[in-house]
């Protein structure tokens, strides 16, 4: 197996491992599934052609950074204030699509930076230090924004859950 094949296999593995979280992250920035998909594909295809992950200190954080840059470059060219599309972001537990919709709307209502931090920490499983490096803020700032966003999400989601529980 030559070096190029080994690198391709590594990238395929990374795509399988982190593709979902990367897509969600791109989705959280663009609000558009097809754009998000394009951004993730663009990053991996560039890496397949002439990229080198061996120099990246942290492969996963590097991939999130690449996807963010790809999405922001794309947004510069297009309408940034485009509303979020209504397609699903998640596969919900117990096929509770109402809960999925509720979570998606709650996430969409968050400011961009908070939404990105929540996605990166909860589904991307990045530490606050990694998130700080990626978004160019301190890890403390990332952590406090996360806690603030989590509180808002809980307020948005729990009334619905409580009302459901009360109706039973």
């Amino acid at each position: 197996m030559d070096r190029r094949d080994a690198r391709t296999l590594d990238l395929e593995l990374l795509y399988r491992q982190h593709g979902s979280a990367l897509l969600l992250f791109a989705f959280a920035i663009t609000g558009d599934r097809s754009r998000a998909q394009d951004a993730v594909h663009q990053v991996f295809l560039k890496l397949l052609e002439h990229g080198d992950l061996s120099r990246a200190r942290d492969e996963k954080a590097y991939l999130f950074g690449c996807v963010r840059n790809a999405v922001l470059d794309e947004l510069k060219r297009q309408d940034r204030n485009r509303p979020l599309d209504d397609s699903a972001w998640f596969s919900p537990p117990d096929r509770d699509y109402a809960a999925e919709r509720s979570l998606r709307r709650a996430l969409a209502a968050l400011p961009d930076d908070q939404r990105q931090i929540v996605v990166l920490h909860v589904w991307g499983e990045l530490t606050f230090s990694q998130i700080g490096d990626l978004l160019e803020v301190s890890s403390n700032t990332a952590a406090s924004r996360y806690r603030y966003a989590l509180g808002k999400l809980r307020e948005s989601i729990l009334p619905r859950e409580n009302s459901c529980a009360g109706s039973r």
Binding site: S20, H41, L48, S91, V122, L150, E161, A165
Partner: protein, 131 residues
């Protein structure tokens, strides 16, 4: 749903799995079979040329009249051609025409049996057995 602390709420959120992205467009993977096909075609062409040149040389070798492996193999069979002179000499020395014909059809083989002993096959051949 009871009030959840941050950790429990995080766990609840993680229960929602992000959708799996579509498969990567296989630009890279398409390139490889094309390269393999090209290499196979080149190897096939080279093999054909080698076989063609080898066949041509063998045919030329035959037609030039030089002894080949086949003639050498045939020559392993010890067989002298019958000439008119040999046939005349045989007819002159043979006691009868029939014995001369027998000698021509079934030439005597040199006996491997030493002079002092007898071949059992020869003795049996001389005996007259009535069936």
């Amino acid at each position: 749903m009871p009030d959840l602390d941050d950790e429990q709420f995080e766990t609840y959120l993680k229960g929602f799995h992000p959708l799996v992205p579509d498969a990567l467009p296989v630009r890279e993977l398409r390139r490889r079979p094309r390269a393999i096909l090209l290499a196979t075609a080149v190897l096939g062409a080279v093999a054909t040329v080698i076989v063609g040149v080898a066949s041509f040389r063998i045919l030329n070798h035959h037609s030039s009249g030089e002894p080949s492996h086949f003639t050498t193999i045939q020559g392993l069979v010890p067989r002298q051609p019958l000439t008119l002179r040999d046939a005349d000499a045989l007819l002159a020395s043979a006691p009868s025409y029939k014995s001369a014909m027998d000698e021509l059809a079934f030439p005597r083989q040199r006996s491997t049996v030493p002079n002092q002993s007898q071949s059992a096959l020869a003795v049996l051949g001389k005996e007259k057995i009535k069936l």
